[in-house]
């Protein structure tokens, strides 16, 4: 299925959500990405990706409580689903397979 493969940015977002654990919502994802991956992303891009991944079933979400800092608006916390983890693992696996097939580099390792 075409929808089964992950785009590079999608994979990154998925990884960041996984690493943030209980505190993954759009703003933290964006900040984390800027800090760790040194990657500038507009919040709208993050939004679009998060909701898309949720639609694909790789993320799930729940709405958090009201906080004062956000103009009284709720946060939507995202969590990686099992499918999501599988997807990440598959991707990792795929990569490793190819890495192993590169002789000199695998030798170095």
């Amino acid at each position: 299925m075409k929808g089964n493969h992950l785009g590079e940015f999608e994979e990154l977002v998925l990884l960041v959500v996984a690493s943030l654990q209980d505190n993954a919502y759009a703003v933290t994802v964006k900040l984390e990405m800027e800090e760790r991956a040194d990657r500038k992303a507009n919040i709208s891009a993050i939004h679009s990706t998060l909701y898309r991944l949720e639609e694909k079933g790789l993320l799930e979400s729940e709405v958090g409580g009201i906080t004062n800092t956000r103009g009284g608006k709720r946060k939507r916390y995202f969590k990686v689903t099992n499918e999501g983890f599988e997807m990440l693992r598959d991707a990792e696996q795929l990569r490793r397979t190819f890495w192993n097939m590169i002789p000199q580099l695998s030798g170095l390792k």
């Binding site: 919040i43 709405v63 956000r70 103009g71 608006k73």
Partner: protein
């Protein structure tokens, strides 16, 4: 800083963009980022990023807010269906509504087209914004009068001395001239002399020839297409010769497209200005090329960005330097070229133009007719509104919101207005030829015209809102419980609004009727006014070059014929607007005045039946009469003489003339102008022939003139006119437009009648039961009729109180444009009242009498 929040507009946009289900989270995220950035980078940056984030969110198509599915198309289908059924159910009211709106829209469209063409005048020249005409204020003895004339040396010298001036174009409309090519003679009506750069500065389209070259020579002539076709047929006219005035052969150097109608400069052929320059050109017209004679038009093109005010401040010094003896009297100024057509009503010698006055009158009429139609709609639909109460109640019960009901009502208005627009467009299309004939324009109703489509597209929603919003609000405001519970009919509501509207309608109609009366009276007046001479049955022609040389034989032949024997030879006639001369009472230079010269013969005063107030007429027997002058009453008043007979008067640079008589004032040219001082003298060089004929023998006289002309002149064809026709032509433009205005006024009255009839019909319907009860209790027919009519009579009375002063004010304003005008008097107002009263009574009584006569049992049976 006051506003510490994210930009409101961005928040609004976001709300509109992002799906409702996730809007809270998204705006929350943006808010959080905003706060973060505010702390780190400051408010401005934060606001900027917020905006950027919002705009970038636009691309998130998948997160878009979906329009709520309300099945609106089905809803609107239902609205239109109900509207359609309603229209069918109340055929009479719908027809009245649609018809009056179509008339309103058609009138508005016609008038918009008219105004559009008037405003488009002279705008087609690329340099239009840099172009000016050199006008002057002449502070003469009869006050400060603006005129558009300047002298031939003025322009070229300005070009040399004013750095702001880029080009100067001198132009003089010569009038008609006969051209000969081969054996063909043709009188061409509008011949103009034009500076060699004329076609470079102005954008008249040259079909053949080079704009920079065609007017360079001393005998060059440029013909318009139709003139060329009339003279040469299919032969190529370039480099051919045509013989014109004074027997000069002009060489055709170029062909122009016919001059567009929306140009105030109108000509059939252009002759190079060089032809008139003494010493250079063959015609050698001194007065067009000196400092003193003010007779030509000078157009200036300023450099881009040049300051007109700077030119104005330097003009007095310029005048002082070059025309010191007139510098005090003349104040030259520049009139923007694009203003000439519409803003020259107060400028002498400027071409006859309608001026802004008509535009305002026409625009107000269009608005008035449209308003009347809209008022009709509002009146009829609000009074009918109770009939819809049940429907509204049911719609509310099943959950319709107020705004939806308003939309429903508006969609009905929309349907009506659309229908009216279509009918109105058809009406406009059909009325166009007649309208063109009336106004002397050649407008076309062209739907491809983007501007017109834009106007229609704008007109529809405006009319829909203006006519529909009030009834819609009223209907939507009904309370479901009330309208559904009570069996008794609901109060119609909007009563006072209807009273106000119908009163206004009456006021507008009143003003229109008064206007129509005044306009027709003024038009009548202009055609029949006492001009101070008898204009009837005067056959006029002008001597051709050939006849002029041998005029004695021609005149004698005319005199010998019984039909043409009563004739006068002169240079000027009362239909001409001749140029002003400087005259000096008692020959004293300091008492200089401006007067019109009439160079005439002994028969002139008698033939035109002018009245001598003092002294005597010229007499051919008295040889000293070639140094005599007759002045008019105005000249006498302004000269300051007690007894003018025997006084002397200096005319131009010539010697003194002796005043031998005073003639009563007579109007020459058009009644728009005041009477000016006139000095008459005899002439050795007459070319205008005025023949007094009798009403019965007009045809014989024309035949005799033709025969005698042909005997003496073979080259030029005869062209003759009757003075009364020429004079009527002065007012043609105006009286035609006035007639168009009258027709619109009548339309407005008819539309008001529609509305009145509709409203009465409704009132009667609603009062039927009351009338029934009254009749059962013994009321007579008259008292019943009065019962219904009294409301309309009250309204009429109030309308009269408002309409009379309004009408008086507006008509007074309009009449001020005429130097000679009818007095206002009470008649138009009495007439208007009578018309309005009879129309109202007739319309209303038609229905009330029927109501009064009906059998009360018919309406009361149901109770």
């Amino acid at each position: 800083m006051k506003n510490r929040k994210p930009p409101l507009i961005a928040r609004k946009l976001l709300k509109w963009l992002i799906a409702e289900s996730i809007y809270d989270e998204v705006i929350g995220d943006l808010n959080e980022l905003f706060d973060l950035r505010k702390q780190q980078q400051g408010l401005a940056v934060a606001r900027w990023y917020f905006l950027k984030d919002t705009f970038l969110s636009i691309r998130n198509f998948r997160l878009r807010r979906k329009s709520k599915s309300q099945n609106t198309t089905a809803m609107y289908k239902n609205y239109f269906k109900i509207a359609y059924r309603n229209m069918l159910r109340h055929k009479f009211y719908s027809t009245a509504n649609i018809l009056s709106l179509s008339f309103g829209i058609a009138s508005a469209l016609l008038i918009v087209l008219f105004i559009k063409s008037e405003v488009s005048f002279d705008k087609f020249h690329e340099n239009a914004t840099q172009l000016y005409r050199l006008n002057k204020v002449n502070n003469g003895n009869s006050g400060a009068i603006k005129n558009s004339e300047s002298s031939g040396s003025f322009g070229p010298t300005m070009l040399e001395e004013f750095p702001e001036v880029e080009a100067v174009v001198r132009y003089e409309n010569w009038g008609s001239m006969v051209f000969t090519h081969g054996d063909k003679n043709l009188r061409v009506e509008e011949i103009s002399f034009a500076e060699e750069n004329f076609l470079e500065v102005f954008d008249f389209k040259l079909i053949r020839g080079n704009a920079a070259e065609v007017l360079k020579g001393t005998t060059s002539i440029v013909l318009t297409e139709s003139t060329a076709a009339a003279l040469f047929g299919t032969v190529n006219p370039i480099n051919q010769f045509v013989k014109g005035m004074n027997g000069v052969d002009f060489m055709v150097t170029g062909i122009l497209e016919d001059v567009p109608q929306n140009s105030h400069l109108q000509f059939d052929a252009l002759i190079s200005w060089n032809a008139t320059v003494p010493g250079t050109g063959p015609l050698s017209v001194n007065w067009m090329n000196n400092w003193n004679t003010q007779g030509i038009s000078t157009y200036l093109m300023l450099k881009p960005g040049a300051d007109v005010a700077a030119v104005h401040t330097k003009l007095p010094a310029f005048e002082e330097k070059h025309i010191p003896e007139r510098a005090e009297r003349y104040d030259f100024y520049l009139q923007p070229f694009a203003d000439i057509y519409l803003h020259s009503a107060d400028i002498q010698f400027s071409e006859a133009m309608t001026g802004t006055r008509f535009i305002y009158v026409m625009a107000s009429i269009a608005l008035a007719i449209l308003l009347i139609a809209i008022f009709n709609y509002v009146n009829i639909s609000t009074s009918k509104a109770t009939l819809r109460a049940k429907e509204v109640g049911v719609r509310k019960v099943v959950g319709a919101r107020r705004s939806q009901l308003i939309w429903q009502q508006l969609s009905e208005s929309f349907l009506v207005v659309m229908l009216a627009t279509i009918i109105g467009a058809v009406l406009t299309y059909g009325a166009m030829p007649f309208f063109n004939e009336f106004t002397g324009r050649s407008l076309s109703f062209d739907l491809i015209d983007g501007q017109l489509l834009f106007i229609i597209a704008l007109l529809i929603p405006v009319v829909v809102l203006a006519s529909g919003i009030y009834p819609a609000m009223m209907v939507a405001g009904y309370r479901a419980v009330t309208v559904l519970k009570s069996t008794a009919s609901v109060r119609a509501g909007g009563n006072s609004a209807r009273q106000v509207l119908i009163t206004l309608q009456f006021v507008i109609t009143m003003v229109m009727i008064v206007g129509t009366f005044m306009i027709s009276r003024q038009t009548q007046f202009m055609h029949t006014a006492d001009l101070g001479y008898n204009k009837n049955n005067v056959l006029m022609t002008e001597l051709s070059d050939g006849l002029y040389a041998d005029r004695e034989a021609f005149v004698n032949a005319l005199k010998a014929n019984q039909y043409t024997s009563n004739l006068s030879m002169s240079q000027q006639t009362p239909k001409m607007s001749n140029i002003g001369y400087s005259v000096y009472p008692d020959g004293v230079k300091e008492r200089e005045m401006s007067a019109r010269l009439f160079r005439v013969d002994q028969q002139f005063i008698e033939l035109y039946e002018m009245e001598m107030l003092a002294g005597r007429n010229f007499n051919e027997e008295i040889s000293s009469d070639n140094r005599s002058a007759i002045i008019n009453q105005t000249m006498l008043e302004q000269s300051g003489w007690e007894d003018p007979i025997g006084k002397t008067i200096g005319i131009g640079d010539e010697d003194l003339y002796q005043v031998i008589g005073v003639v009563d004032d007579f109007n020459f040219y058009s009644l728009h102008k005041e009477v000016e001082p006139i000095v008459m003298q005899t002439t050795e060089r007459p070319y205008s022939v005025s023949i007094k004929v009798s009403e019965a023998t007009r045809q014989q006289a024309i035949k005799a003139l033709e025969d005698i002309w042909l005997e003496h002149e073979t080259r030029e064809p005869l062209s003759y006119t009757f003075l009364e026709d020429d004079l009527a032509a002065f007012y043609d433009n105006e009286s035609n437009i006035l007639q168009a205005i009258m027709i619109f006024a009548i339309i407005s009255v008819v539309i008001s009648c529609f509305g009145l009839y509709g409203l009465t019909a409704f009132t009667v319907e609603r009062k039927l039961r009351e009338v029934g009860i009254r009749k059962v209790l013994g009321a007579g027919e008259m008292s019943v009729i009065f019962l219904i009519n009294k409301r309309f009579l009250m309204v009429l009375l109030i309308a009269l109180c408002l309409g009379v002063p309004a009408g008086y004010y507006l008509m007074d304003l309009w009449l001020q444009g005429f130097a000679f005008r009818v007095s206002m008097g009470a008649e138009p107002f009495i007439m208007a009242t009578a018309v309005l009263l009879s129309i109202t009574l007739l319309t209303v009584s038609l229905l009330t009498v029927r109501a009064a006569r009906m059998n009360p049992a018919n309406v009361l049976r149901a109770e």
